[in-house]
């Protein structure tokens, strides 16, 4: 395989989405190579990373120090205090212990679904967009159909047919991934369509590179920021949908997640008994984690679409005032 095109040629190119009416940015703020793939360090990104890392550590290390979350004590529903920092449930189980294990469970499912859904969307979006023709027609029709069929009812029906004892976390993750990849595939397809007409991709094709190699070497590296953003988004969506599913009593039977905690809190009448320490913390962790990921996603958006970058101290002035248009479209799609 003769390497006519230097492998790095794709990386020096501006990220996709930059080409349309790109604002000439001052040379000092322009970054090349792999550094262009990293988000700029902003307070937004710092807060987002901080939240995500803190919660991930809590879920990773917490269970090591926590006691057995299933230990039943003869004290019933107790408010937070010295022995139990976050109080206990109706059956005297320590809420903090449960919280550490549940956080780990939720993160696991989120990651699992994130990886699978991103892989699926890459297959349908990138391959369809690159190959074109009838393959593209079929793939994009398929993703559009999956997009309009309402997801949660479909997930509920599928989980309803799987017997509870066979409903493990892998099953749930698979179902969530199968119903959650379509929106990302559409975005990836649009990006691939714009990439495949670039000169260096055309050159690679003319030079006789095999399609899979063009996709892996020329196209995918340029899609990394988009893929990362889609991955982050599908992790948020997965954690939220898993929580919802478990809250409905349809989650995995072999795992404890933040959603199952909320399910037991609701069933134990935590609300009616004003046991806030039981149902507030799980929701807060989901919200904080989702918020952290969303902030990271906003920073990733700035790589995908450089026009969103703040001009820094030098004011570029009117030229950037149209900058948020792509962002608006993206956020309505999301």
């Amino acid at each position: 395989m003769t390497s006519v095109i230097p492998p790095s040629s794709g990386l020096e190119d501006l990220p996709p989405g930059a080409e349309s009416g790109a604002v000439p940015s001052p040379a000092s703020t322009r970054r090349t190579g792999w550094r262009a793939m990293l988000p700029t360090w902003t307070p937004k990104l710092a807060i987002g990373l901080g939240l995500v890392v803190a919660i991930a550590l809590f879920g990773l290390i917490g269970p090591v120090f926590a006691g057995n979350p299933d230990t039943i004590r003869n004290i019933g529903l107790t408010a937070p205090g010295g022995d139990h920092w976050l109080g206990t449930t109706q059956t005297g189980q320590d809420v903090l212990d449960q919280l550490t294990h549940a956080t780990r469970g939720s993160l696991q499912i989120g990651l699992l679904v994130g990886v699978m859904a991103t892989a699926l969307s890459a297959v349908f979006g990138v391959i369809g967009g690159y190959v074109g023709g009838i393959v593209d027609e079929v793939f994009s029709l398929f993703s559009n159909v999956m997009l309009v069929i309402p997801g949660l009812p479909l997930v509920i029906v599928i989980s309803g047919f799987v017997p509870a004892d066979q409903r493990g976390s892998w099953t749930i993750a698979l179902v969530l991934a199968l119903t959650g990849w379509a929106a990302a595939a559409r975005v990836l397809r649009a990006q691939t369509l714009s990439l495949r007409n670039r000169d260096y991709v055309a050159a690679a094709r003319v030079a006789g590179e095999k399609p899979w190699r063009v996709i892996c070497v020329e196209i995918l590296p340029n899609l990394l920021p988009v893929l990362a953003s889609q991955f982050v988004f599908s992790v948020i969506a997965a954690i939220l949908s898993e929580a919802g599913l478990s809250f409905l009593g349809l989650g995995a039977s072999n795992s404890s997640t933040l959603g199952t905690m909320l399910y037991f809190a609701q069933n134990g009448f935590a609300l009616q008994r004003a046991a806030w320490w039981w149902f507030v913390p799980p929701g807060l962790i989901i919200a904080a984690f989702g918020c952290g990921l969303a902030l990271i996603n906003l920073s990733l958006d700035e790589i995908i679409n450089p026009r969103l970058r703040r001009p820094g101290r030098k004011r570029v002035g009117r030229a950037t005032s149209g900058s948020s248009r792509n962002h608006a479209v993206r956020s309505t799609v999301a």
Binding site: V148, I149, S159, L240, G244, A328, S331, T332
Partner: protein
Amino acid sequence: MRYYARKIGFYLVALWAAVTLNFFIPRMMPGNPVDILMAKLQQRGGTVDPSVRRSYELLLGADRSDSLARQYLSYLGNLLHGDFGVSVSSYPAKVSDVIGQSLPWTIVLIGLATLVSFVLGLVLGTLVGWKRGSWLDSIIPSTTVLAAVPYFWLALILAALLSSTLHWFPLLGGYDVSLSMGWNWSFISSAVSHGILPALTIVISSVGGWLLGMRNMMVSTAAEDYILTARAKGLRNSRIMIRYAARNAALPSVAGFATSLGFVVSGSVMTEQVFSYPGIGGRLLQAVENNDYALMQGIFLVITVAVLGANLLVDLLYGLIDPRTRASN
């Protein structure tokens, strides 16, 4: 014309895909739903004559004697006749009747709440986007937080605060069960007061998305030349904002409205579970709990058809209000 034909064709394909999914899901899953169903039917004093068993086998596919293709054809035939089978959990009611009872609750509650949140989001987004950089912009970060909060959790918190603690709204149900259903004042007012809290939670959790999208479009529209022209003509500021900027900025939101309808239905399942609302989402969950497979499938189909229909409607309307979409397709 081609635009409309394409759109209608696409939704027909989507409908066919949903129906086919519905056919294959029970057949791919482990276990035999028909046996569970028959046991349940007998418990409830239903007669298990061969014809009932036969019709369930057609719906749920436990009959291995027929080929898959034949099963599929008879299944489609059953659907065309509106025959979804008999509900086990509310035996001997037909599935279509059960759905008919609960559908209006969902349509009124979810429909109104979605519309209110959409309009509210557009109005607020217009104002915030027009006065960019003012104190109004400080609303924006909180929308990120709101979008990350699980909807049902927010609903639980609001219910605990406004209902259990402050006693402003009734906590559960769609109406006061001591009243008889009908078009009389006491029933309607009870239904309205039971609907306010669920509707409020839907509006609060979904208004942020519309607001953000509209705000961002307003910001970019405000930089367009025709806005400058309008200013130069000396038009009133409010007129420029509404007739010139907001009208154009709202287009992507209208398009987004269609895609959001599916998520709205998902929201309805959660809402109806938290508030024990007598709508179709709550019914779906009851059906799952009771292994009422016929009802489950019927509800899934009805929800899907409703979402597809609404999407088609919005798509066709969008083609009318924004001719550019027709040209580019």
